[in-house]
């Protein structure tokens, strides 16, 4: 049950939205191809493979080749979606992502699956919490971490239509649909999830619904908490961050990623230079222990109580 007694919302694996959207787009545009590293199943691309067997290119367990092939397919006029576990896609082939995709500016869509700590029990080799920090300096890659199934579908559609490199950071962790009406997906723009004046929580991906729930809980205590869904990490919606700093005076960032160099890092870099306000960054401090995704979220404060505590902490810094 949610805190107000309403029924617990249905949870969705956003990978379904990813593949359903990709298959629909591929049926309309033969240029769309998928490239995998023996990751057809974990990318949920089995249906795509059945429908378009020639257009599912499995290079085997060879991530450097996978990303290079993506660049080559783009050179040959295809629109490649290169899909693999994000820890390997961004880590093992980081130089290919830098040189072949970003620096060469090829129209390649990198799709990081099972990002963050989705593979919690498998340990830090399989956690992908560094990817934001690795990709943010590659300024021409648009980095998007969708918050729910709807946003995942919209991001896939936008990526296919956009001319240029994109990194979609997806998760297998089930999340509810955000309860916002009249949504329009605008890459590079923060989405207002909750209005508020006392403090702003900026979240992305799997943590946005937690931020919204935390805001509702704090509203019951008389706190007005703004919540922004910062789905696009790169380029950052600087106007929305600076407005939050000016108008609410304190910021909490929440991400299923390292607190170094990701969303929290980006917000801190910007506010330090343009509008210094207290910023609390929720995320992972570095390598984290083995444990289930749910346990790791609880342990590191990526939870409704954890976000509420971070809000109180940042507000205490304002009044101190």
């Amino acid at each position: 049950m949610a805190h107000d007694g309403s029924p617990t919302p249905r949870l969705h694996d956003c990978r379904n939205a990813w593949v359903e959207t990709l298959e629909a787009l591929a049926a309309e545009d033969e240029r769309i191809v998928a490239v995998v590293n023996d990751s057809t199943g974990s990318s949920k691309l089995g249906g795509f493979q059945k429908k378009f067997p020639d257009r599912l290119i499995n290079v085997g367990i060879a991530e450097q080749l996978m990303v290079g092939v993506g660049a080559g397919l783009a050179n040959g006029g295809r629109i490649p979606f290169v899909s693999a576990a994000s820890c390997f896609l961004t880590g093992r082939s980081l130089e290919q992502v830098k040189a072949d995709v970003a620096y060469a500016n090829f129209n390649v869509k990198l799709v990081g699956q099972s990002s963050g700590v989705a593979y919690g029990e498998l340990g830090a080799t399989h956690h992908s919490i560094e990817d934001f920090a690795w990709l943010r300096p590659l300024t021409n890659i648009t980095v998007i971490a969708p918050a729910d199934a709807w946003e995942t579908a919209e991001a896939v559609k936008w990526a296919a239509a956009h001319q240029g490199p994109v990194y979609l950071r997806l998760s297998r962790m089930p999340v509810p649909d955000l309860d916002i009406v009249g949504r329009v997906f605008t890459p590079g723009k923060a989405e207002l999830v909750r209005s508020g004046e006392d403090v702003t929580v900026i979240a992305c991906g799997t943590t946005v619904h937690l931020a919204a729930e935390a805001a509702d809980r704090l509203a019951d205590k008389g706190l007005s908490v703004r919540v922004l869904n910062m789905a696009t990490i790169n380029p950052l919606d600087e106007a929305a961050v600076l407005a939050a700093a000016r108008e609410t005076g304190a910021i909490v960032t929440v991400e299923e990623a390292s607190v170094r160099g990701g969303l929290g890092g980006a917000v801190a870099e910007l506010t330090a230079g343009e509008c210094p306000v207290p910023v609390e960054r929720l995320g992972f401090p570095g390598f984290v222990p083995t444990g289930s995704t749910e346990w790791l979220f609880e342990e590191y404060g990526l939870s409704v109580p954890g976000i509420c505590a971070a809000v109180r902490k940042v507000l205490a810094r304002v009044t101190a």
Binding site: A62, G70, A71, L73, Q96, D100, N105
Partner: protein
Amino acid sequence: MTTKPETVELIREKALWMRRTAFGMVHKAQLGHPGGDFSAIDILATLYFGVMRYDADRPEWENRDRFIMSKGHATGALYTALCAAGYFPESWLQTYMQPRSMLNGHPNRNYLPGVETNTGPLGHGFPVATGIAIAGQLTGADYRTFVLTGDGEQQEGSNWEAAMTAGFRKLENLTLIIDRNRLQQGQSTEATSGMDPMDDKYRAFGFEVAMVDGHDIGALLEVLSASPRGRGKPLCVIANTVKGKGVSFMENQAKWHHGVPDDAQFAQAMEELV
């Protein structure tokens, strides 16, 4: 297949101009990789002036043959080839490695027409070329893709990832050329990480393999211009070359990997390159 003598002569003239011009660029910039430029120049001249189908006025033409310079440091060879092929005016060569020049130390496709992908870190070109060849296989386009790697560069594991997939997918539209000058940056390839027999390695990966003298224009023309149709496998051309080819004091000297000439050395090279 018979090669027209006038084609061989034209390629020789282009290669001579490329060597003289590239060394002039390196002399002026006091930067560059002339040893590897000179081992590769006959191969590039053969491709651009005897083998490949392209239109320098339409660098994005979708059915162009593609050439990927995976040993991206050999920009003296690549830039002079692209210039001679008509992609940009000769005056641009004078800016080689100057601040904000479009002629980087390593090629950038966003700066320079005719560059197919950005290279520099080794082991990148072959995977990208494999992707281009797969795109051609998917669409049925009849363009060919050529990629040139150094022999030391073959130590990068990404090449063998590409070799596995290219052989497995029978990419007959793909030609890998290895500039087998037997020297890497500091010493011989065989003293570093023994690479022979390279032909057996590529045969084992599903390639047709040809060994040629990489400075014999006629032999290069014959093997590179043969139609790939029906070959049923990718082609690997191991071009036996001489690092620093054409200048007596540079030949087979590892120090000329990124050595640069003083005025006297430059003058002597110009006397020899005729």
